[in-house]
Symmetry: C2
Subunit: 244 residues, 2 copies
């Protein structure tokens, strides 16, 4: 029958896919999207986080908005961008998976940092949740404060990597410390663990990062409140923990 039309349609379809693909051809655009998967951020915040000129960052964000990967919200004279949905974060995460598995260069970069904190020692999400509930662990979010405020693991305290050594005394020396960051490709948490161990602390990384925690629908807190262990508690009492 109309094989001609079908052929046309298939070409159109792949052109649409390429619209999405276009977003991840530029390193800075991937970086921006990765940041947005951590939570909402304003344009100039994103620009300074990535080292881009404001107009360049804005242009990249437009590209992503045009293919509906991100959405915006205006508050006063600031425009906040966010990922348009969890499938977008999954897409970025999958891209990372492929790079990690396929590219020796990526393995190398990750090994440079993570050599002393090997992967078998990471804490699973379920374990972490249970131990937060039991109160026998300190969870630190080592990402920049902005990302912590845009959503963090309930019960975690904000302790950006750059301040870690200076604020070491805030951490109970008797407790084990679990650090987390943006995900499997992020170097912050592994670096934090290296630093902590250098100071004789018992420390481990969470398996992957915040986006995965969010996708597992585990409890997330917004803003700067740090005393929210009870939220995790309430969550646990109404949900079977086997689900995660």
């Amino acid at each position: 029958m109309d094989n001609e039309k079908t052929y046309e349609e298939r070409a159109l379809l792949y052109e649409q896919l390429a619209r999405i693909g276009k977003v991840v051809v530029n390193p800075k655009r991937i970086e921006l999207l990765d940041l947005l998967c951590q939570g909402e951020r304003s344009v100039d915040d994103l620009a300074s986080a990535t080292g881009l000129k404001l107009s360049t960052a804005s242009a990249h964000l437009q590209v992503m908005r045009q293919c509906r990967l991100v959405e915006t919200r205006r508050d006063a004279n600031r425009v906040y961008y966010r990922s348009a949905g969890e499938e977008v974060c999954r897409f970025v995460a999958t891209l990372g998976d492929v790079a990690r598995i396929r590219l020796a260069e990526v393995k190398q970069i990750l090994a440079d940092i993570g050599s002393h904190t090997n992967d078998t020692e990471r804490v699973s999400r379920v374990d972490l949740l249970n131990r937060v509930r039991a109160g026998d662990v300190v969870v630190i979010d080592v990402r920049p404060v902005e990302e912590y405020e845009a959503g963090h693991i309930s019960g975690a305290i904000s302790l950006p990597l750059e301040y870690l050594e200076a604020r070491l005394d805030e951490l109970d020396p008797q407790m084990e410390i679990v650090a987390y960051c943006r995900g499997p490709l992020c170097l912050l948490a592994p670096q934090a663990v290296v630093t902590l161990r250098k100071h004789g602390r018992q420390a481990r990384c969470l398996e992957d990062g915040m986006p995965e925690w969010r996708q597992a629908r585990l409890p997330v807190t917004f803003g700067s409140n740090t005393a929210d262990v009870q939220m995790a508690e309430a969550f646990l009492s109404t949900n079977k923990k086997e689900e995660f």
Copy 2:
């Protein structure tokens, strides 16, 4: 400490991700990769399937090979390409998911064909496996023969869409027919179902397609043998069906 170095490393990391991203910026490259997720194909086979000149197709394949997304094998004077791993197929599938969810244009194209075969009527993988085993369903693979031969659902017969009407009498009129193709973005199976219903047959699509079946580690047969129901049978008797 060495924040400078960390910044550098992060930039390098995103550049590596962009190497992968580069593959999916070109519609034809996505089409090629999608085909390779169906199974191994030779270069000129791929070229004619996508309507590309041989040299162009080869160039695209080089790009994908350089970032390890595909691998090759030589047999006589033909070079066969294949996806380098299942995470690559997952990446393409995720790209499709995002496009399907986010882009109205994609929804439109899919609706044009699939309007009469709505998604709630699709057969799940588990159901299909059980019914193949019970022998009360005919499974047709409506993709081109090359893809059928590069791996098909055990028990399925090859009946490319273009020959469907001509070979209708090969299908038992009493049996329900389940058609499958490349996946959620492929139009072949929905079109086949439309055609079959027009001829008064009871027909449905499988939920998504071959790559997903393969990823679920369900039984796959290679080559042109069509009498392989017993393989599925053997598979079922040694595996709990609840797993899928």
